[in-house]
């Protein structure tokens, strides 16, 4: 295939992937909506995130078991909610495949790694988000993250297509180095994991508030999709695992960047705006890991710190790329 054809394929695949993610998002919305009137009679039993040899993963939908005893109308709603959830996941996997085609063909068209501009970094790091999510669904049954994840993917890919798009182009000389593959792939993967971690933290905050309200009003009915997610504690644990995976990767990305900077510009660290914000993100997530081990900071406070870290990551990607100056001016904007 010619370069032109590959670039064309990549563009079409990104449009398609965005649309399929949007359909998946709609399905997850329906999943939540179907569950809005469902009540759980008993306190929600924390669902284990890890399928043990004894427990095993059940194929049943999240609400089914808890509500099996409730009336037939509810049963129907549970069934429908679960069906939409499964449709959402199926569409997400389909979109992920198309998305992969888009990123790979973009790289082939450019004959290099597909992360040389802001548009390319966007489509690659969102792929990392989607892969991380599907992996976590397989391993820890986190389909309850589906709405947030697909919503995020649609938003970012939409912005990438509408605002950030740049045609396939050559790399500026500063990026002619194998360090580009090492430094940026680590940053993109870490960014993808930070995203999933942040979404899990958001859900944790919602769920823990729900549980706090329920504790305050033990007699109030427990309605809605959120009651079918695992307990706040289990979500928090998942968020921690994802962050604990992302943090060393981010550390590596920053340090690999420093080594590359020494090689390209003759200094490890020069307080370039991008470097400053990478450092701030690193410090914020380091604070998150420490907060989890500090009395009075566990739980909600730590989750807010994680979200703060994510905000600094986003600012570095959006704010510094678009409005900042400095040596990392590769956005193509």
């Amino acid at each position: 295939m010619t370069t032109q054809a590959l670039a064309h394929l990549s563009n079409n695949a990104i449009y398609s992937a965005t649309i399929v993610y949007a359909l998946a998002m709609l399905a997850h919305m329906a999943e939540w909506a179907m569950a809005r009137d469902l009540t759980s009679e008993t306190a929600p039993t924390p669902r284990p995130l890890v399928a043990t040899a004894a427990g095993g993963a059940t194929a049943a939908g999240p609400l089914r078991r808890e509500l099996a005893s409730s009336g037939s109308d509810d049963d129907e709603d549970v069934e429908r909610s679960d069906r939409f959830g499964r449709i959402g996941l199926g569409l997400t996997v389909l979109a992920l495949l198309i998305h992969t085609v888009a990123v790979v063909s973009r790289g082939l068209a450019a004959d290099r790694v597909p992360w040389g501009s802001m548009y390319e970094f966007s489509i690659t790091s969102t792929l990392a988000v989607a892969v991380a999510y599907v992996f976590l669904v397989r391993r820890y049954q986190v389909r309850w993250l589906g709405l947030l994840v697909t919503g995020f993917l649609v938003t970012v890919l939409g912005i990438a297509v509408l605002v950030l798009y740049r045609p396939v182009g050559p790399l500026v000389p500063a990026l002619h180095s194998y360090w580009l593959a090492i430094h940026v792939s680590a940053a993109a993967t870490a960014g993808g994991a930070f995203t999933v971690g942040a979404l899990a933290s958001v859900l944790y905050l919602l769920r823990s508030r729900l549980e706090a309200t329920a504790r305050a009003h033990p007699d109030a009915p427990r309605r809605g999709f959120l009651w079918s997610t695992p307990s706040a504690e289990a979500i928090d644990r998942l968020a921690y695992r994802v962050h604990a995976f992302a943090f060393p990767l981010w550390t590596f990305a920053v340090l690999a960047g420093a080594i590359w900077a020494q090689y390209a510009w003759g200094r490890f660290w020069g307080w370039d705006p991008k470097e400053v914000w990478a450092f701030i993100t690193w410090v914020a997530y380091a604070a998150y890991l420490h907060a989890r081990a500090t009395a009075g900071w566990q739980g909600r406070a730590a989750a807010y710190v994680a979200l703060l870290g994510y905000a600094t990551f986003l600012f570095n990607f959006v704010g510094i790329n678009l409005f900042g100056s400095g040596l990392h001016s590769y956005s193509g904007m």
């Binding site: 043990t52 921690y240 020494q262 490890f268």
Partner: protein, 576 residues
Amino acid sequence: MALRPPSDRPADFARPPDEAFVSSEPTEAGPSPAPMSPGPPARPGAPALRPPELARWSWRQLTSMRTALILLFLLAVAAIPGSLIPQERVDPSAVTIWTDKHPALAPLFERVGMFNVYSSVWFSSIYVLLMVSLVGCIVPRLRVYLRAVRARPPKAPRNLSRLSAYDTWSSDEPVALLTQRVRELMQAQRRRVEVYDAADSVVVSAEKGYLREAGNLLFHLALLVVLVGVAVTGLYGFKGSAAVISGQGFSDTLIQYDEFTPGARFDVANLAPFSFTVKDFNVSWKSSGAGQGTPLTFDANLSVTDHPGAAPYSYDLRVNHPLEVDQTSVFLVGHGYAPVVTVRDGAGKLAYSGPVIFLPQDNSFVSYGVIKVPDAAPDQLAFEGYFFPTASLCRGQPCSVFPDARNPVLSLIAYQGNLGLDSGASQSVYVLDKDNLTALKTTDGNPRALLLRKGQTMQLGKVGSITFDGYQRWVKLQINHAPGKVIPLVGVLAAILGLLGSLFIRPRRTWVRLRSVEGRTVVEIAALDRVSGGDPGAHVAEVAGRLRRAATPEHPTARRESDATNRAAADDEEKL
């Protein structure tokens, strides 16, 4: 600093109190959570703190996790202004522009070090405090760890069945045989094993995951190594830069540098005696289509002589491809245009001829520069203005529409008078001191703008003439000497290794209690993780499966089943 492994459970979980503690000081108030600072031990009516107590209390405060957390936040916040306000050390000209734009704020910002955030007192004090806090935390923990590293696995809790990961069964085999089997199994899994004999039972205690704390300590120590390494590199090295016009040479002597910042311990006499000539410099830009004008390549072809008398060799200097001579590195960091001009004075005598370095102002390579002609007589001459590589008109203003020199035009204003070079004060070659200079004006009194195309000569009346002969390119070179830069590199690798260890190694304790009851042996097994993320239940199932399989005679079906269980258990154990 807060060195505690980020754990999901309270710190004193299944650990002797001293190990759970960050501070080496025991608290008076019993088992309060470790990182919680106990606060000044002053109660109402109690006498005030005496200095030693105060000092100890302050030290404990400083090395507490909470303080470390606050310092981390402060560090993050303090780093922000430096990314928004131009920094002297990153881009001095941007600071000048900013200062001109904000005359009211600038003096205040100057005073609080806003243009030098990362070397300011307040930024430095935050990270110095963080480092002190870190050291104050590492040292006691290192001591604790060194003690713990040889520690034997602890005795079993009295009631194993209370642990969530628990299994029990009875066996025909004698206690001694089972003890041996458990011990071998645990050792094969590289667990540390200790057998405790009690009156009525034997307990095999096993523990794994001592390296988590080692990784944690290694990570934090490695951070110090990185910082020390960078400091040492700066102390014994230097940073410099030089602009070299294509065709000209550079030798590593102080006078050839435009900027030179030696470390405190660097002796200028130690400059490596290398030299090189920039034989030619090639640059290309994308000439059409999307992204037109983005740079594609730039590389300089050098002829290098390592030391006087050595045979010269050629070297292709590019971004990401620096030249290394004697631990001194030469980096290609920028380039620009040097218009070649010939200036004759009023008498028609040749006063200057050659290239003059102009500084690029933006991506279109519109370049600003100053031409000083001290040899012109009777008045000295000077020119100030812009070089447009591909000149055009944009909204009535001259501009450059492409970075390459497709239509080079020089736009200058001429001055005559005294350049002020004799005063002895040093002058930048890029700045014109106009105190004793007057601009040549047109008849209507405005400064006369000279527009020169390549090859054109402009007569300046009786004052002289200027010819724009063409242009050459120059390269901006960053020249650094960084001895011992391998130290931070080693630190970086160690930090990542330590971080991985501290996040992914999960300490786990396993106990197997064997009791002889009415001729049979009752086996109890339990496991406990000291950090979350693992699945001790799967581990217990796996160990129990193996022990039972070893006990029962070989049975093909049973064996296959238990293999499957073991595989599943092993899979689970690999999970995050």
